[in-house]
């Protein structure tokens, strides 16, 4: 498999195929991790996306597929991948749900506690975020990193190369707008 670092380089140079390849590689990995985590004897329904992203980053670095310098690029991208992993797994879960054994999935991020919980909420946030992307892409980016990626404000600030204060401002606005949209 081509190294992620090389893919990131090509992607940054505008190569669309590299973007797809990177997405596929990261997606597969994050999906496996998320699966394993959720299986967990069926008890855990809280998905700790933060640790998933960090774990996959470390694995890629340790296996030599990703240079540590590409941390920023990887993180910028991983929340997007994480989002589709989560959304797809929620859709699967909803499709499979039977009997009383099923419990809603919860994300261990701030927004989850503040706005809404459960599988349905994840999908609704996903949809509201799609609208927000068109209305105010910066807010949507921060919200995606926060909600689906579970990044800290500091991590987001580093990734986007803005101040933490800016991230806080964006996040507050995004949260209020999403709350209004989901209500």
């Amino acid at each position: 498999m081509e190294q992620l670092t090389a893919l990131i380089g090509r992607m940054q140079a505008g190569d669309a195929a590299a973007r797809d390849a990177l997405f596929a590689a990261a997606y597969e990995h994050l999906r496996k991790l998320a699966r394993a985590r959720l299986r967990d004897g069926g008890r855990s329904t809280v998905l700790d996306t933060t640790s998933l992203v960090h774990e996959s980053y470390l694995r890629f670095v340790n296996s030599g597929e990703l240079r540590a310098e590409d941390r920023r690029a990887f993180f910028a991208y991983a929340s997007q991948v994480m989002r589709s992993v989560i959304v797809n797994s929620v859709r699967e879960r909803i499709a499979q749900k039977r009997g009383g054994d099923w419990r809603p999935l919860t994300l261990s991020t701030e927004l989850a506690a503040n706005i809404a919980e459960g599988d349905d909420a994840v999908l609704r946030v996903h949809e509201a975020l799609a609208s927000l992307e068109k209305a105010d892409p910066r807010l949507a980016e921060v919200a995606q990193m926060r909600y689906f990626g579970g990044y800290s404000e500091q991590e987001i600030a580093e990734t986007l190369e803005v101040t933490e204060r800016t991230v806080q401002r964006y996040w507050e606005k995004a949260r209020l707008i999403l709350a209004a949209a989901l209500r």
Binding site: S131, K134, D136, P137, L176, A179, R183
Partner: protein, 467 residues
């Protein structure tokens, strides 16, 4: 209920205004929310005043009962179905600190069309102003332009003044442009529609006084409609020294679009609209406004700020998301704005009215010059600037001329060479004579400069010419 993309974009913008305020200021801000944002009132209240939101849980959400007795918006005591003069109210379109706007239709069935009825609050017009009100109303009602929403009528019924206006459904200009990801040229075309409408009104001696995106809507078909032309003046009651400012403050979300003289309370003329057009153009191009005034500031602070503020070129103040919203990149957009467009915007924004464009038409004309690649008025008549424009404008001609020049020179060169050769042939005996080399040397020395004049500017400038 969910929010549309348009509502999300608006809410984001409105939260920028309100989040920095403390609870009391937020409450006051919500009270003054202009009618056009009324569909977001509940969402904004929930976002800005979380405790109020708890209390509001028992009320039906998102279908606020505007007509209810306790509703904060029923300032005029009106309700759906009520008759006002010849009109029957249908529903409240919005309400703000200064006015309520209702959708209404003619009760007598004289016209089928629906109208927007605006009821200014505190509308007890002084008797001596009634006369003027009628006169002004007639002038405004005579404005007829494809890009100006019609004022049909204005009247007073049981002490309640109202304006009946064309009901326009559309998006604020800036939101529309961003939503459509319009490029600079498309934005300028819409802006020129606005400028044309303003010039038309100025020709009828009507000043808008309150030009801002929320008063400039774009309909589904992409046509601009200016609302509330001259209404600010009509509603002005001349009670206090700072009436103009209070009315701006009361009605508008932000005084950011008001000219320095309007903020000072000085008499205003058409130049005040030119200034507001400048702010609008700035925002359309760069995504940011030239400055943002804190609502909490006192009149004096605002006056001072606007009077002393150094306005930065739009190309230097691009909003981070502006390039994407204009289908462009940071570099391309900066390059596009730098120079002509910067200068046009800054001329419209001159602090001294006399230094701005003398008319909306002059502003439009300069934008047309920019489109045609001619030197603009806003820039000093510098020789090299004019020459560059001339060359850019006449790229094709220049290329033809250059080619012709090369052809002529080449021909001349060949001809002389031919002549020289024939001299050489006809006089082989005088081989030692040096003059034979002279024509050749002259021709060779002459040709390269011709090349550099003709070819260099041509290739060099063509990269610059994506306008």
């Amino acid at each position: 209920m969910g929010l549309s993309i348009r509502q999300m974009a608006m809410m984001s913008r409105l939260l920028d205004e309100a989040l920095p305020l403390d609870a009391n200021a937020r409450r006051a801000w919500l009270e003054r929310l202009p009618p056009e944002y009324q569909d977001l009132a509940q969402a904004l209240r929930d976002a800005l005043l979380p405790r109020d939101h708890e209390a509001a849980l028992h009320q039906p959400r998102f279908t606020p009962d505007f007509t209810g007795e306790e509703s904060p918006w029923s300032g005029c005591g009106l309700h759906g179905g009520a008759r006002v003069g010849p009109y029957q109210l249908i529903r409240l379109l919005g309400a703000g600190g200064m006015a309520e706007v209702w959708l209404a239709r003619r009760a007598d069935g004289a016209f089928k069309r629906e109208v927007a009825l605006k009821f200014p609050k505190h509308s007890g017009l002084r008797r001596d102003l009634q006369q003027r009100f009628v006169r002004e109303r007639d002038i405004l009602a005579s404005l007829e332009h494809p890009h100006i929403a019609r004022l049909y009528d204005a009247g007073t019924e049981d002490g309640l003044s109202y304006l009946s206006m064309e009901y326009v459904q559309g998006l604020p200009l800036t939101d529309w442009c961003d939503g459509q990801r319009l490029r600079i040229s498309a934005r300028l075309e819409l802006f020129l529609q606005v400028v044309g409408a303003v010039q038309y009104a100025h020709d009828q001696q009507v000043i808008h006084r309150d030009l801002k995106p929320s008063n400039i809507l774009v309909t589904e078909t992409g046509q601009v409609r200016l609302l509330d032309f001259g209404v600010a003046k009509l509603l002005e009651s001349e009670q206090a020294d700072h009436t103009q400012l209070t009315s701006i403050y009361g009605r508008a979300l932000t005084p950011d679009y008001a000219s320095p003289e309007l903020l000072r309370g000085d008499p205003v003329d058409a130049h005040t609209d030119i200034y507001s057009l400048g702010v609008l153009l700035y925002e359309l191009l760069a995504g940011a406004r030239p400055y943002r005034l804190e609502r909490a500031a006192t009149f004096g602070m605002i006056e001072h700020a606007v009077a002393t503020l150094e306005i930065c070129k739009p190309s230097m103040r691009l909003e981070p998301q502006a390039p994407a919203a204009r289908g462009s990149t940071q570099e391309e957009l900066t390059r596009q704005l730098r120079g002509d467009l910067d200068a046009i915007v800054l001329k419209a924004l001159a602090k001294e009215p006399a230094e701005r464009y003398p008319s909306a038409a002059a502003l439009a004309e300069d934008l047309h010059r920019y489109f045609r690649g001619e030197p603009i008025e806003a820039l000093p008549p510098h020789f090299t600037y004019r020459l560059r424009k001339l060359m850019l404008r006449n790229r094709t001609t220049l290329a033809v001329v250059a080619l012709a020049a090369i052809a002529i020179l080449a021909f001349g060169y060949a001809f002389r060479r031919e002549a020289t050769n024939s001299v050489e042939v006809s006089a082989p005996v005088r081989a030692a004579a040096p003059p034979a080399a002279t024509p050749r040397a002259t021709g060779a020395a002459f040709l390269p400069p011709a090349h550099s004049v003709a070819v260099l500017p041509f290739t060099n400038l063509s990269g610059d010419a994506k306008q």
